[in-house]
Symmetry: D2
Subunit: 306 residues, 4 copies
């Protein structure tokens, strides 16, 4: 496995077309596009890394996997009255569908959906408490108390987050949010600003590899059926309007973030985190996707074969 | 396995809310909604059936799995210039996306996409020759020479197929079709009118269970990577705007037809065909979906766990 | 008045940016773009022309004014159950709105609406009879028995009319048409292929200038309130998604055709026909619009002033 | 004229189906639906009123006529880079078009357009200064220094204005606003909260009746061509997706507000203000529209006849 990981790293190092770093948030725009990291963790916790696997990056929308997991824990199936579970066929920040469907987002991974999830998690708590809870959960699943929020990124997002503000106010106009828009956005922008290394992130995905239990730490995070469902949502909706492409090329449940990270789950086999800041046109990590494609090709881990 | 299949059949027999039989085609509208059949076939060809597993039904859109397979064989990746591979988020017969994307259908399983696929298969042949070819292929993968087209259903579709005619003319207006609209529709309506039993259909899906090879007959149908990709397309787009729901509840690549059939693939495990004519609101078999949900629950075959 | 008309003609003769001749119909594509004609007819029938005012051109969508008038005569307000009367905000051949509003076109002047009007006029007649009736009506309002259909243009449209075929089949799929699609399209394509000179066309518009009566011939064509309403529909919807622009710049009810003609009505003042084959981006005559802008500037005929 | 006005008032008094008072703003929801006022003012300033013509009501979107006039005075045609001038075919608060057209509103009278206009008027001023300027302008055209803003309504709108906040943030995400969203909304909500009587409002419309000059006071407000263009925009877009209906039934340029008021302009004839709080489904005053329909029927003032 280490050989495979190393060879992917070598291949990716040589690539010149690395996509474009997200430029809408100043703090993300200044990240060096030549960085690359890949970590594969097996169910028992064996770690295979290459590249800068201990460099922190902004996980951005990958955090939505963790908030979805928390929201399902808190509300169970009642969550589905607030957000759908169909692929949207639209870009991550589209508002069109929201108007046609009366303010209910199509799925938990488009921005509007994740804002609805943040609202659901909050209950009647303040953003501070909610964020403490989210951080606590991410640290728990990753088994790493050092994980934290990059406050500069969060501030940067707050100031440039007009589109997300628009989505939140839009949902509020349909009375779909229980908390004030500003507080929900505060929570949302902050949980998107969690920083992790590929090693931390891959470990945090382990519970989805083994039917809900982190075999390495021995802790059950979610029931078996829920782990499967989260994986199905990642596959169907985890890459916005590039989800079909990712399923076609990689064939693993995965969730991308505009920071250039991707978390991918090979059930029973491994949790994989990859990071390369350059994005493709849809907003998913260009080299990250290609690295996963190579990995699946080498390992045969696609969920569509056996 | 036979016990599981039998118990599902018993459960489904007792259901009173069976959905609504498709009424837009007279020939489908008069099918008895109380029928139910389930067949599970293992890679080596062991067959487990319950219900009327030797009753012929109209496979309708399930035929799109076979025409997609043929088109990929003929055109390879060049096919993707004619049709996309993203879930549409829209009903099976929506034309909105087609206008926004200049006549290129979002994926091969919505009606517009399947019409484009029919056109691609035809080359410059007449519908008759193309249909002979399609039938030949379906008989080959099912290893059953008796499979044929129900001409009455095809005629019935031709006369009521205004929406599909509209989709085809729309694509033609963007010069996306190589053959005359009438001929393409003739081919399309006829291949949708293939009749099969659940036993025939489950056998026809075997090549998708075993990485492209029908282990039972020993014939390779498609290369390994293509089998995976077809499975991924089935999962992402096989149930129209209910694909997310199906992935969430069942967790297997599947393709439904308005005749009430569903073909589902559990890679490495089994090919499954289920039939119950009553449909849910989106147009997928109501009891068929529930039966598959039970089956996956009993067997743990979801591709999202292990 | 003749001086004004002449000076506009001189100005337009010198223009080099004349727009682009419609190229989707072969018969229209080969028209010489350097032609220009302008005719102003007063209520009493005084004619002021410049340019090739006796050259026949294809009136295309301008014919929709006459078919709308006929349909209102036949069905009265019952017509509005089949077609709306709001501007669409979409291009002339958009199908999106049609899906959102269940096959009922937004207004009588977009293509879908005019197809619905053709169907309404037909009753249970054959296209031949309906076309005879339409021609009879146009000859009557223009007081000119020589007006006829250009069969070559009609054939040309039939063969290239995929988008209109798509619209018609789409409406048929919602059971919005009483006649078979082919017959309705036959009627529609033929009435769009009526050839007229600007002089004939301007005369044909006289009944809309004088509250429903052609003062020149003395014949009442429609009641007063209906003439006003037809004018309002022309203003609101007569130039597709350029209607607002036309109202803003010209300020007269008008209807354009892709043949490069425009019929404009200055209530109480004059009926105006202009023809120049080059179109702007939206599909309205470029110089025709500019000529009308000049005319209104010189005469003060805008309905928005006094 | 007084007889006509009185008879309309009598007729409207007897109506029982009065539409529904806007309920999304508490301050508007508690207005008595049985009120009705109609004022007709001739170019020379003769006033004909019936009903509670000296009762103040919230003019709401009618204020957009005045802010558009101001913005055209400040920016001239440069304004049209920020907002279009086509009817939208969508409800007043739709966001769909805004996404398809990159944050540029279709016209100045839908909410998004009016927010863009408010931003344009502000320059780099604070809301307070901008509002003073707007009030000053409205008092000037109405020749009435007593006109003011209802602060309670403004506060009420601020607190319930999620949809407008969404629209503004959406435009901001395309960098279409020069001022901070909160300030633009502050200006917008306040100018919508101007209170006027029908008498004040009808007088304020006089400059649009007489080609830009208030003949009564003798002051020129806008050049002739601009008065016409504002009238054309009112006709095309003044009643949202009911503009076609209003043009068809009434045939005068008009602007409605959810407070139940309508300002209508009969060029050369009269400025008309009507108020009845109950709205039709689209959000325009039900009895107000019917009263105008009666008035035009009696007077023949439709701009589509003569």
């Amino acid at each position: 496995m280490q050989n495979i990981v190393d060879s992917i790293y070598q291949e990716m190092r040589s690539r010149t077309d690395r996509g474009k770093v997200a430029n809408y948030i100043p703090q993300l725009a200044c990240v060096d596009p030549n960085q690359f990291a890949l970590t594969v963790v097996t169910p028992e916790g064996k770690v295979y890394s290459a590249g800068c696997a201990d460099t922190l990056f902004s996980i951005q929308s990958i955090s939505k996997v963790f908030t979805l997991t928390m929201a399902l824990g808190k509300l169970g199936d009642a969550l589905w009255a607030r957000v759908g579970r169909e692929p949207s066929g639209d870009p991550f920040n589209s508002i069109v569908q929201l108007e046609h469907e009366s303010g209910i987002p199509r799925n938990p991974f488009i921005n509007a959906g994740a804002i609805a999830i943040a609202d659901a998690i909050m209950g009647h708590n303040e953003p501070k408490e909610s964020l403490a809870e989210i951080l606590h959960f991410v640290r728990f699943v990753a088994n790493d108390e050092s994980i934290s929020i990059d406050e500069k990124v969060a501030q940067s997002e707050m100031m440039t987050g007009s589109r997300n503000a628009s989505l939140a106010h839009f949902m509020a106009s349909f009375e779909r949010l229980e908390n004030p828009v500003e507080k929900v956005l505060g929570t949302y922008f902050h949980h998107c600003s969690i920083s992790m290394t590929t090693e931390q992130l891959a470990k945090a995905g382990l519970f989805l590899v083994s039917n809900g239990t982190n075999q390495n730490t021995g802790s059950r995070v979610v029931p078996e059926h829920r782990a499967r469902r989260i994986n199905s949502l990642m596959l169907m909706c985890g890459h916005y309007d590039g989800s079909g492409e990712f399923a076609y090329r990689v064939g693993l449940p995965g969730k991308s973030g505009v920071g250039g990270g991707i978390l991918a789950i090979a059930p029973g086999k491994a949790s994989i985190a990859v990071w390369s800041p350059g994005l493709d046109k849809i907003g998913n990590s260009k080299l990250g996707t290609e690295a996963l494609e190579m990995l699946v090709h080498e390992t045969g881990w696609s969920i569509f074969g056996h």
